[in-house]
Amino acid sequence: MGNDNSTEMTIHLKIWKQDGPGKKGEFISHEAKGLSSEMSFLEMLDVVNEDLVRLNQRPIEFDHDCREGICGTCSMVINGEAHGPDKEITTCQLHMRKFKDGDTITVEPFRAKAFPIIRDLVVDRSSFDRVIESGGYVSVNTGGAQDANSLPINKPDSDLAFEAATCIGCGACVASCKNASASLFVSAKLAHLSFLPQGKIEQDARTLAMVRQMDTEGFGACTNTEACEAACPKGISVENISRMNRQFLKASIKER
């Protein structure tokens, strides 16, 4: 895979190791040698795990799936930053060339009460699933598909809906917020449905249900520090949070 720019690197890792939920975790140190600067961060962890297996130690568990920035599973905090130092990418899109040979890198899991640690860097994000289940859908009649152009949508609204829909549900917003608030995630999910005619019908009920589920799951409240927007691999705007607040107030006033 190497190319002309590739250089060999040694990295001192401090990785969070925790045997199971509720267990006491700790940072272990590992020196990763013979890395290529062109490796992705996850490939570097693969190499580390091969080393650990060779040393007869348990590999470090971490979540990953697509490895191309679309599934949102590769959750970890690198040197205090969710998905690492670069903006608008996921951990799997981060390359070792962003670091210097000989650097020490601290890797820890997303930390939030609503994201309990399963093992090492793997956290349980099913709280997000429950928020979606509570209202993140549209109800449509069965039958033949409608003609695509029978539902006119203006371009600005469709763009805003699309921007919000780029949320991959990775949880970096929760991980980076000092309050572990899920406001950016929930507001993005609300916006992507509410801007479209199919989603307008259930907008009020959806807003009420999803915001209440968010509170039930134990996420914190938003204090507009905007750390979430900076950490979001998709660059989703905090404007969505203000929109959610307005819509939640309106839906609460109208609720019967």
């Binding site: 930053e81 930390r111 507009n224 900076a230 107030l249």
Partner: protein
């Protein structure tokens, strides 16, 4: 549920903190503007204070302020506590680069605590402080100006006061724009204006309040 559920929700509590905070910001703004009479002279300042406290509605305003203050404090403490519970384990490192959070926005509760202590001591020193009198055209009024000159003769007091006003300025610089965003004013049309208003009010209030004891200390 409905509107009562709203008040209990995290977003509803944010609205309460934002509303009470904004009203309090308006109060400190009017307070600093009124206090600029210090630069006009003792009579202008004392007569202004006399007109304010001899107004029968002042008690309504005072009760209103106390209620605002208590509600702002109580709900903010409750939210801060649940926000801390939401992140029980801290990170080993804090973001330093592009994803760093403005430390001012993270320390709202610390600034709030300082402002609370300041407010209590401020009321003890001035509102309930020594009652000097002055006479203007046969009218006997409280000589607050004299008390102020006496208090701000102490460099320690001036420094403490200035530091507290810096804290207030920081609190307002995030608080005002955050409150407006909580209300929903985050939109390309408003974003820049919301920031400007927040920073502008914070600067006027903190620099205005800082100028007063400094002026008294050096020139009176």
């Amino acid at each position: 549920m409905g509107i009562f559920g709203f008040i209990k929700s995290s977003i509803g509590q944010k609205y309460v903190v934002a509303t009470t905070g904004l009203l309090f910001a308006l109060f400190v703004l009017s307070h600093v503007l009124g206090n600029f009479l210090i630069f006009v002279g003792p009579e202008a300042y004392n007569m202004y204070s006399y007109k304010l406290i001899s107004n029968p509605f002042i008690i309504v305003a005072e009760i209103g302020l106390v209620v605002l203050f208590v509600v702002h404090l109580a709900v903010a403490i409750k939210l801060t506590a649940s926000n801390m519970v939401a992140r029980p384990d801290k990170y080993a490192l804090q973001a330093k680069g592009k994803k760093k959070t403005d430390p001012v926005t993270k320390a709202m509760w610390i600034q709030g605590a300082v402002i609370f202590i300041f407010m209590v001591s401020h009321l003890i020193t001035f509102k309930y402080g020594t009652y000097y009198t002055a006479e203007y055209d046969g009218l006997v009024v409280r000589d607050l100006y004299k008390l102020m000159v006496e208090v701000f003769a102490s460099p320690l007091f001036v420094v403490g006061y200035v530091l507290c006003m810096v804290m207030l300025g920081l609190h307002l610089s995030h608080g005002i724009q955050s409150a407006l965003k909580t209300f929903g004013f985050n939109h390309p049309q408003y974003e820049a204006k919301v920031r400007t208003v927040g920073l502008g009010v914070a600067l006027i209030v903190s620099l205005g309040f800082i100028a007063q004891p400094v002026y008294i200390f050096f020139f009176q």
